[in-house]
């Protein structure tokens, strides 16, 4: 999954701390500086209390698999042909936010709903580091 021709995340004013965190192998999540509600993806204004005060904290990296798919047909083939089958999952972090990632390090068909996972970081080309998830003991 580290081929340079894959979509490269482009950090913006909201997401820069997240991607910087990944480069340091720290899963950084934003929360409201006022009501302290964590949010993902990051953005300037809290949808709950409308405060623009923001903070970042290091998440535990522990979560569960909310849902997952096994990609068998690569789109585009030139980019993902070598990777299939691969797993994309919605991960519920224990801090209460959900993110998209890959589950790696096991047979895709061994995944079950709500399975416990933990973050691991995969380095790619161009300085990109992606947070991925692998199985953990509950």
């Amino acid at each position: 999954m580290n081929d340079f021709s894959k979509p490269v995340p482009v950090a913006d004013s909201d997401s820069a701390p997240f991607w910087e965190g990944c480069r340091a192998h720290r899963l950084m999540i934003q929360r409201c500086g006022s009501c302290k509600t964590p949010r993902f993806p990051p953005m300037r204004t809290c949808p709950k209390c409308h405060s623009t005060e923001t903070e970042w904290f290091k998440a535990s990296g522990r979560g569960t698999v909310y849902s997952w798919i096994v990609v068998q047909h690569p789109v585009p083939r030139e980019v993902y042909g070598q990777d299939v089958p691969y797993v994309v999952a919605l991960i519920d972090l224990e801090e209460g936010v959900r993110m998209v990632s890959n589950v790696i390090g096991l047979d895709p068909h061994a995944i079950i709903g709500n399975m416990p996972v933990e973050v691991t970081f995969e380095e790619g080309q161009g300085g990109v580091v992606l947070p991925k998830f692998k199985p953990r003991e509950a």
Binding site: M1, S5, K6, P7, V8, P9, V10, A11, D12, S15, F40, P41, P47, Y66, S67, W68, I69, V70, V71, Q72, H73, V75, P76, V79, Y80, D83, P85, Y86, V88, L90, R98, M99, V100, S101, N102, P108, G113, N114, V128, L130
Partner: protein, 385 residues
């Protein structure tokens, strides 16, 4: 809530052939469908003063179609950014625009070279910006991949099965076998479904809709105007659009959506039925947005035809067949007729309510539901003869 019950009607419908390669421009497709809708109603194009459409950057602007048709003064020419979610929205806003005095007769169209031209889900940008920076780098790129994620959650929560998905595919193909316009008319069996290859688990090839070139259009007028025209009016009883909080930053994004086992339908159902003054048990025929087999299950639950979690057993029971309690997608749907982003569902509902559906006709169809959308945002209408 939509408050114009029975005050507006669909007076005309038109469409092009549905093909894999139209050999012509999207503009020409749009003009052909719109002209046919005007002719079907018996309204001269010169009397049309509104035109509205929706697209994903894959179509032509409404003013371009107005220009090509020779509409003298399109006072309400609007393009919505949207996909299947907007198919009923444009018709509802056409009625609203007429009510507000912005126009008198409004063409609503969707036109695309969806197979030979711009293919949805053919890959996103190489540089993942905005919301896609959190999705595309993980290889989560296409709509089948997006919707498969929703389907899996339903399976986790309710034990929904492949055979239940398959019963949707098999039923709609059977309906398409009666539809001369359908792109896929060859019947399939459950064995064919189970043998079709996985594209993105849990979806097989036969869970995924077609890609089509083509266009559809409907003409919306005041009901009293429609009564003087060529066909029996099809009245807009009610409608709704939306999907509650956390719909995401684009149609693909559902990261913040709380429960992926239910979609927009659960959020707009109350408004829809209240606006129409009828309920699910009053519907004679329904054309449900079926970009994927699974989206049908989620909408049946959301709109109250069955309880959450019971959509799988419901579709597998035979209830959705032509002779069942709720005939669905009598034209074959997006899965088997064509993928004109849900506007072809509205055309089929109009045909059923006019009694013009030929071998596909559901006897005594008086009330029809059309829905559009599969994920966090969508629209629906209740129509009557």
């Amino acid at each position: 809530m939509f408050t114009l019950r029975d005050k507006y009607a669909i007076a005309g419908i038109g469409e092009t052939a549905y093909t894999k390669n139209s050999g012509t421009t999207v503009l020409n497709l749009a003009v052909e469908a719109c002209q046919k809708a005007a002719d079907d109603a018996g309204v001269p194009v010169e009397e049309i003063d509104g035109i509205v459409s929706y697209n994903f950057g894959d179509s032509v602007p409404a003013i371009g179609v107005a220009t090509a048709l020779g509409i003298p003064n399109a006072g309400y020419a609007v393009d919505f950014a949207g996909g299947g979610n907007a198919a009923n929205l444009i018709t509802l806003t056409a009625a609203a625009a007429i009510e507000a005095g912005l126009a008198k007769s409004v063409l609503c169209f969707r036109a695309m070279n969806g197979r030979s031209g711009f293919r949805l889900g053919g890959g996103r940008e190489f540089q993942a910006r905005g919301i896609t920076q959190y999705t595309a780098p993980f290889g989560w790129i296409t709509y089948p991949q997006a919707m498969a994620m929703w389907c899996r959650r339903h399976m986790i929560e309710y034990g929904t099965t492949a055979e239940q998905l398959g019963s949707v595919a098999v039923t709609f193909r059977e309906n398409a076998s009666l539809n001369e316009r359908a792109m896929q008319r060859e019947r399939i069996t459950m064995d064919d479904y189970m043998a079709s290859r996985f594209i993105v688990e849990p979806f097989r090839m036969l869970d995924i809709c077609l890609e089509s070139d083509g266009a559809c259009a409907v003409l919306v007028t005041k009901a009293e105007h429609a009564r003087d025209l060529k066909h029996k009016p099809v009245y807009i009883m009610g409608g709704a659009y939306g999907g509650g909080p956390n719909q995401g930053e684009d149609l693909f994004d559902a990261i913040r959506w709380p429960d992926h086992s239910q979609n927009y339908a659960a959020y707009i159902a109350d408004d829809l039925w209240r606006s129409a003054g009828v309920g699910p048990s009053d519907v004679d025929v329904a054309e449900i947005y079926d970009c994927f087999t699974y989206s049908v299950i989620m909408q049946l639950e959301g709109f109250g035809f069955c309880k959450p979690g019971e959509g799988g057993p419901f579709v597998a029971s035979g209830a959705i067949k032509r002779d069942g309690s709720l005939p669905l997608n009598t034209h074959g749907g997006l899965l088997s007729e064509a993928y004109i982003h849900g506007l072809n569902h509205v055309l089929e509902a109009v045909r059923q309510l006019r009694g013009d559906a030929g071998p596909r006709q559901i006897a005594d169809a008086e009330i029809a539901l059309t829905t559009a959308g599969a994920m966090t945002c969508g629209s629906a209408m209740v129509l009557r003869a």
